[in-house]
């Protein structure tokens, strides 16, 4: 296919996607400020259903604030946030609650409830939203969710203080997945993990996303994560999303920050690693996404 055709096909695909209402999250004209400091202004972002979108940006560009605005922990000054077609700002009614049940959030430090064991942490959302699930089934659900995130069975009765950083992240992920969400928010999931643990976590995220058909909103600084699992990457700078697309598309833009980000020494190392990985796993038919 010629490049023009490819772009046209991509555009058609995007248009089709929009027509099919295939947007999980849509943020329009978002403005957030703290005092005099404006974090976002006129920020727009669409997240498609079933994709892993990576959100990157320098420190202080408001990646976490964007996530908090979407999940309703931060009320923006202006703008619209729609999740699965429902406006979410300042809503506390039943429909908004129904949407809330459809997402899971993994906070940066895991944010596990420190007085509950790992398994009890996983049970909290189930207990809260679905009291009709009996205690025995609930225990079983917590058990397989724990195993699902790659934690050993011994981790169940442990308290968060007894866990290592990586295990806390996994436990947090198990809790985020408790209700089988359609939408998963991950805030720097691989920060502070060793490379092997980080790679395993990436792999897990990818596998979960494929088996459960999740949409993943992923904030990260980890270039390896971006290269290995993200379908698209949104770049936050100058108070808005300056570019969204696959990494190859981002590399084609000439924004200095993007160039520096992906073509800096770390970016090049990650590219090289991905290239090696691809060569190892034999030529795969391109699915048009990457």
């Amino acid at each position: 296919m010629a490049p023009e055709e490819e772009i046209a096909a991509e555009e058609a695909r995007v248009e089709q996607a929009v027509e099919q209402d295939d947007i999980a999250i849509s943020v329009r004209n978002l403005k957030n400020s703290f005092g005099d400091q404006v974090v976002h202004e006129g920020l727009n972002l669409d997240v498609r259903k079933g994709e892993i979108i990576g959100v990157v940006g320098g420190s202080g560009t408001g990646k976490s604030v964007l996530m908090r605005s979407i999940i309703g922990l931060q009320t923006p000054d202006e703008g619209e946030v729609h999740v699965f077609g429902e406006s979410m700002i300042g809503r506390l009614d039943d429909e908004a609650l129904a949407i809330r049940k459809r997402w899971g959030v993994l906070f940066q430090g895991g944010a596990l409830f420190s007085t509950l064991t790992v398994a009890e942490n996983v049970e909290v959302p189930i207990r809260e939203y679905y009291p009709n699930i009996g205690p025995q089934l609930r225990d079983e659900i917590a058990a397989y969710k724990i195993r699902l995130t790659g934690l050993p069975a011994e981790a169940g009765p442990k308290y968060p203080a007894e866990l290592s950083g990586g295990m806390k992240k996994r436990a947090g992920l198990a809790r985020a997945l408790a209700l089988d969400p359609d939408l998963l928010f991950l805030d720097e999931p691989t920060a502070g993990l060793d490379p092997i643990g980080a790679a395993a976590f990436d792999d897990q995220t990818r596998r979960l996303q494929q088996t459960l058909g999740l949409t993943v909103f992923l904030i990260t600084h980890d270039l390896d994560t971006l290269y290995s699992i993200c379908d698209r990457v949104a770049v936050l700078a100058d108070k808005k999303v300056i570019a969204v697309g696959a990494i190859d598309e981002l590399l084609a833009t000439d924004h200095p920050w993007i160039q520096e980000y992906f073509n800096g020494p770390r970016g090049r190392a990650a590219t090289a690693a991905v290239t090696r990985e691809r060569e190892k796993t034999a030529p795969q038919p391109s699915d048009g996404r990457r």
């Binding site: 049940k101 420190s114 007085t115 064991t117 398994a119 009890e120 049970e123 189930i126 679905y130 009709n132 699930i133 009996g134 089934l137 225990d139 079983e140 659900i141 917590a142 058990a143 397989y144 724990i146 195993r147 699902l148 069975a153 011994e154 981790a155 169940g156 009765p157 308290y159 968060p160 203080a161 209700l179 089988d180 088996t211 459960l212």
Partner: protein
């Protein structure tokens, strides 16, 4: 979207088959798991062909039922069968809570632990006192390491900010003592003795004791919470690695501030309590302030003031040590900060009252009646 899950029992080829219908997802399961649990008879197969959608919780429900009734899973899309298989692979017993301990054993264990904790706390407190003395000695040898700013800042927090509440409390206590005392003494026609009561009681005991309780509640708890939080965020470990001794940088300024402030606050509290007593005497007993003051000078020996002021710094040491010690013991989680803060205040007040009793005996023995 919301199509409730349902089941139908059918007989096929001589065996029972459970046919599942609708949405097998957590939002639509409703009472399906309970109904599946009620089925006991031998079931040959579970048929998934009537399912529109399934999540992992639905898949788990299918898996556990199939496992319990040792039945086969048939029909349905390949995806749904794969999902059931995938969750089935994760089937491994996981403990939800720490192991259960029988109540009797637990109570005995708790009593034992409490005794050990009490003993080790006392030991730790003595050790901590020793550590503070060593830090003091180090600072005396290297005066440049003395943190003037930190101490002065604590003076303000511990002392100046407490003036309002301690003044108000003391004033009211003075009024209460004078009022209650005068009611009793009136029966003997000795209302003038109210002045003795107010003067001696406040200077000797109540002024300092009430101040100690207030300071323990205000500053002792604050110390425990501050140091505890710093311990949690590894600030104290960071300090140690940089070569700053937390004893010198955190504990010593706080201890010094309380030790210096306690006599001043105690004296202030006694004076305000006497003013409160004098106010009540003037208002309800018609004793003019001049008479009140003159009488006070006659009946309150100066040793009463010394008794109060000598006790104050000792109480201060106890309050500061209990607060800082408990704060430094924080490990693990945020809940412990709360627990330690509580024990800091309780221990401080308890020890202050115990020491006060010793002082009472000691001063009587000295002849300072």
């Amino acid at each position: 979207m919301n199509k409730a899950a349902d089941l139908v029992e059918e007989t096929r080829d001589g065996g029972t088959v459970i046919r599942l219908l609708g949405h097998l997802s957590i939002a639509c399961l409703h009472d399906l798991p309970a109904r599946l649990d009620m089925i006991t008879g031998p079931v040959a197969a579970i048929d998934l062909s009537g399912i529109d959608h399934m999540d992992t919780i639905g898949a788990w429900t299918v898996h556990r039922t199939a496992k319990r009734l040792s039945s086969e899973i048939v029909g349905g899309s390949e995806d749904s069968r794969r999902l059931v298989e995938a969750v089935g692979e994760l089937d491994e017993p996981v403990n939800i809570r720490p192991d259960y301990v029988p109540p009797l054993q637990r109570v005995v264990g708790q009593i034992g632990e409490a005794v050990i904790t009490a003993g080790s706390t006392l030991l730790g407190l003595v050790g901590f006192f020793g550590g503070t003395l060593v830090a003091t000695w180090n600072v005396i040898r290297h005066p440049s390491r003395f943190r003037v700013n930190a101490v002065v800042q604590r003076f303000e927090v511990v002392g100046v900010s407490a003036l309002g509440i301690i003044g108000l409390m003391s004033f009211l206590i003075g009024i209460v003592i004078a009022q209650q005392g005068s009611v009793q003494l009136r029966q003997f026609g000795m209302e003038m003795l109210t002045i003795n009561l107010v003067g001696r009681l406040t200077f000797r005991e109540l002024g300092v004791l009430m101040t100690a309780i207030m300071v323990a509640g205000r500053s002792g708890s604050a110390f425990a919470a501050q140091l505890g939080t710093m311990k949690l965020t590894e600030e104290i470990d960071a300090m140690r690695t940089i070569g700053v001794s937390p004893m010198e940088a955190l504990v010593l300024p706080r201890t010094l501030a309380v030790v210096v402030m306690m006599p001043l606050l105690g004296f202030y509290s006694s004076i305000v309590a006497v003013i409160g007593g004098g106010f009540l005497c003037a208002v309800s007993l018609d004793i003019p302030p001049i008479t009140f003051i003159q009488r006070l000078r006659e009946v309150v020996p100066i040793t009463d003031l010394w008794v109060g002021l000598l006790k104050a710094p000792v109480f201060g040491i106890i309050i500061a040590l209990a607060g800082c010690f408990q704060g430094m013991q924080v490990k693990a989680n945020a809940e412990e900060v709360g627990l330690r803060t509580t024990s800091a205040v309780v221990q401080a007040i308890f020890l202050v009252i115990v020491i006060d009793a010793f002082f009472a005996v000691f001063f009587t023995w000295l002849g300072w009646n």
